[in-house]
Amino acid sequence: MRSIAEINDKIERRQAVVRTVEEVKAQVAEVGIAQTAKEVDVVTTGTFEPMESSGAILNLGQTDPPIKIRQCWIDGVPAYAGFGAVDLYLGASQAVEYSGTTDLNDIEEVREGAEARVRQRGGGHVIEELIAGRSVPLRAVGQVTDCYPRASFETTISQNTINQFYLFNPRNLYQNFIVGVNGGDRALFTYLGPLQPRLGNAVYSNPGAISPLLNDPDLELVGIGTRVFLGGAIGYVAWEGTQHFPLQKRLPNRTPIGPAATLALVGNAKYMNPKWVRGCYLRGYGPSLMLGVGIPLPVLTEAVIAHCSVQDQDLVAPVVDFSIPRRVRPTFGLVSYAQLKSGKLIIDGKSVRVAPLASIYLSRQVATELKHWIEQGAFMLTEPVASIPNDRTFIPQDMRGS
């Protein structure tokens, strides 16, 4: 139908027809798949949701005398230092470490106190601060060697005072996820937020039909090297994500019925915007990072538009009971995203309130922003360098011999 080179040529001449995936769905409903595929060159998708398997690589530049950092705290949040001398990795879900005797598991006791507010900070918040251009304190402890004689170092850093500052996220962009409920009799504090007892509420965390990978279900368009919108800047698909599970059961429309493909993303945080990279905290669970990610889908064939035409009623997720704290939790079956977005579910004959954890409002803005970039010729499409594997099994970690 058209090649990526041809689309890029049109983008350069600012003649590319770019539509958000929601516009495409509406257009397909009106004029059909064939006509839409003829007219549209690029479809933009987007999501804005917590992605806790995210983190930032930082290189400080050497001190004089130099230091081989072994332990490091950035604004009180521990950063991993087991690399070369002044390379650091700051994980989004790393909680702040503070001087106190409270055990990390005594969250209940400190939740309402002043300490709770401190604890609510984590790597995600520090990453947001740095992206916003603010300065944060850094404390480092070094291993004294003949190469690196300095034993400790304290300073203040900002994105302008360090060499590299880029996000390297091992697991982003879950292709579908689960719906959390709590069938037990006490409140649970989960990575999906608070789940109230006796099916008091339900939470889903994928924005459904607008979500990038639900519109390219077999990852035929997205691969290693694909240029994406990451946190308000240009990013790239680096690899398959951790827990990438393309073999998840799928509907006839090829979309998975639960968590499936994931992607590892990388992008220069110095160009990112704090609007799209937000530290967050899930009560009783811990800190995380909300991230805006958008993927452009080139309309190479009619099948691309066919995949992009899935609606919320064509997509499902499993309702999972978090009251059983095991790897495999019981489910209440599958529900459609149309049901989820209505705000009410019927589970076991009971009407349950449903709330999203992904911001559908901001997901749409990501798709719209990416559309503008492409229209303005500021974002060119890429051919994937290699495909994301489609045959990864999901290996559980069981003790040997058990």
Binding site: F48, E49, P50, R111, Q120, G193, P194, Q196, N201, A202, V203, R278, G279, C280, Y281, L282, R283, S288, M290, K341, G343, R353, V354, A355, P356, L357, A358, S359, I360, Y361, L362, R364
Partner: protein
């Protein structure tokens, strides 16, 4: 009159002073949060009124910082009165103040700490 002392001594009611504007020999104004047994609280308020103290109930209100809010909607699932809802079209958070009972469950639920009370 040592109002807060009497509240504590006679009614076992803790008065947390939030705002105070008191000058000698003039009418003053005290904003307090009262904590105690519900019957004792009623008795304490009745006693204050009997002392010609005008008692009115300040309504604590929720404040949503729109700059901070990301419109994720997580709060809508814990709001018992549907004061917090997502607009079915735009999926933007809408707050219907008249429905809010200030149960405050949304405050710790908000992942970006965008909700607070105005006291």
């Amino acid at each position: 009159m040592p109002v807060t002392y009497r509240l504590a001594k006679d009614f076992n009611v803790a008065a947390n002073i939030i705002r105070a504007q008191v000058a000698p020999n003039q009418i003053g104004k005290l904003v307090v949060e009262l904590l105690g047994d519900i019957d004792q609280l009623d008795a304490a308020i009745e006693w204050m009124r009997s002392q010609d103290i005008t008692v009115s109930f300040a309504s604590r209100e929720l404040v949503i910082d729109e700059e901070t809010c990301v419109d994720c909607g997580l709060c809508t699932g814990v709001c018992p009165t549907e004061a917090l809802t997502l607009d079915p079209q735009s999926f933007k958070l809408t707050f219907t103040r008249s429905r809010c009972i200030v149960c405050e469950q949304c405050i710790p639920t908000c992942p970006v700490q965008a909700i607070s009370t105005n006291f």
